[in-house]
Subunit: 410 residues, 2 copies
Amino acid sequence: MDFEQIAQNAKTACLDMAEVTTDVKNNALLAIADELEKHAKEIFEANKIDLEQARDIVSPSVFNRLKLDENKMRDMIQGIRDVVNLPEPIGKTLLARQLDDGLNLYKISCPIGVLGIIFEARPDVIAQISSLAIKSSNTVILKGGKESINTNKTILSVINNALEQVKDFPKNVVQQVFTHEEVAEMLECDKYIDLIIPRGSNKLVKYIKENTKIPVLGHADGICHIFLDKNADFEKAKNIIIDSKTQYPSACNAVETLLIHKNFEQTEELLKSLENAGITLISNPETWAFEHGDKTLAYKIVENIEEAITHINTYGSGHTDCIITEDEENAEKFMQKVDSAGVYHNVSTRFADGFRYGFGAEVGISTNKTHARGPVGLEGLTIYKYKLIGNGHIVKDYVEGKKQFNHKDL
Amino acid sequence: MDFEQIAQNAKTACLDMAEVTTDVKNNALLAIADELEKHAKEIFEANKIDLEQARDIVSPSVFNRLKLDENKMRDMIQGIRDVVNLPEPIGKTLLARQLDDGLNLYKISCPIGVLGIIFEARPDVIAQISSLAIKSSNTVILKGGKESINTNKTILSVINNALEQVKDFPKNVVQQVFTHEEVAEMLECDKYIDLIIPRGSNKLVKYIKENTKIPVLGHADGICHIFLDKNADFEKAKNIIIDSKTQYPSACNAVETLLIHKNFEQTEELLKSLENAGITLISNPETWAFEHGDKTLAYKIVENIEEAITHINTYGSGHTDCIITEDEENAEKFMQKVDSAGVYHNVSTRFADGFRYGFGAEVGISTNKTHARGPVGLEGLTIYKYKLIGNGHIVKDYVEGKKQFNHKDL
């Protein structure tokens, strides 16, 4: 099937999804979870083939993400069942307003439409994103990396076998494509695809953002900062910085740059503690706009909070930035003027995460300035439409002053 | 000044705007309104020069939009004063949640950042968009059409003179550029510009959408439909169709295509009434995806509601589409399955408008599937950031099970 046909099928499936009830969607999710459980062995076998082919080609970290073990499978299946328990995101009344007698306006949440998902390595992304898409009545076209092609194909066929057995569930809600050419076609296909969600390396996300006019939900870099104010508490500072850097150094919400107020009195002692915790400190990085992804931490002494804020707004990626201070006024100023999705006071940057925020599921983390910003839950896969219901109302009457709007919220 | 410098100044001004209070913003708006009133004569004179140069070059409709008369000036100034009375859109708490003892998350509305406004003909767009931008703490770079260059320059200089006198109001909040080259630079400048808002012809909007990766808020086409179901009320149908087509035929929310159920019994009588109201009916348009912009109405007899829905989802522009029916079930089905920003039942399509919806002001009408859809009010110029405030909280404690999240909404 050519890509245009796949995309058109996804669009048609969207319109069918408009009539699918919450129960049917939840049945579909439970069916997927059950079938994945039943076919775990097949999936592990497919994964083994991918792993063998990848062993000498990919980096150890990619190899680890590629590998599906019992734990990851259990988490993946539990993740789908958790989505069942999330509240229905579609059909919510966001506004109900009488415009005039018998003329009522409703703003109702609805799905975005067709999501194009481009991911690398991690085959568990298929189940995660597909379940979020189903819950929010969107349809998806998935394109995984070629390193996990056998695993991806097997998981998708299990998912689609499960969906076929669900009463009243439409066809073509979850589809997959495989080639580089199809990625190019997906990025061009703004006629049918409403949102692209990339999951993978900074390089992948950058490439996608630079090569499509379709909205992209995600982030390329995660260049997070901590600013240590002059009257920061030493113990808090030490613990927060060590956690932000070492708890999971390759995460996008790990800290990359530490800015220290010149009048903070225990700088030397602090830097020593960081080194003792296994952190490699550098004071002259090639560029401040850099995501190390390991235990390297760049640091800089700054004159004042203004310099820190300007540094962050210049070199940061708008992801998550933190001030450590006992001065409430400075904390408020920092959180006001730093233009990032997350602005933190006296906590680890590693909290930037949909599950930790209590969203129940995470689509990804966005550094966009429109639609959805920060950790994105199910709500980020929805938009709204306006329903206007009247009884023969025409605009001429209002323009000519025969009738007046009353605009009463219902 | 080169464009990069202008854009960078706009970004810096954004950060300054973060600290500007509601009172200062409202003072700025009132100062602009007062100064425009005082300098009305200068503006009319500048407009006269533009009109004389444009007289033999532009179409009558562009000439009309270009012309600033006493009425338009009064409306423009009143529009700015109306924005003063709108509720503050920035700093609203959209979510407040305790993640754990002493660890609180707040989702707070904030400005998007730098808006690039590209408009044609209508010089009153400057005052309208600038006042909305100021109220929502965004900054703007405006580029008007060359046909209104004298009027634009005069209005902008009045605005900036007014702003200079406002205590605590930052510089560079409202800037203007003039050349085609600067439009190209604006569309490339995703480093500093967060949102492009085009106001003008379909051609302009299409050009912009095709030539930038920055999010664009707006719509190119307004191809609106009315579906006349078999048991529609004749009088309602006649009035609604005539209003939707003739009340203001060049508006984007005017109807372009009428779909009539084959079993509607008074089709002939209805078509005659429409012709009597000055509507030109055509049954064989070159394409169904066409915005006539005049009193031409394409019509088609359809087999059933499904054909109508498919037609609309295929040829429509996702703007506003209406069903006329006395059958509640069909109305619900239509509003559910038609994938448009506005789905209407028994009312004129001309109601699709921010003022009629009670938003108090309108940024524009969007056919996007992300961020803002339909008539967009002040809220469409806002996004949010997450503030997380703790007391030394680190992620390690939660990963190792020493602490648990409690996720209580505050």
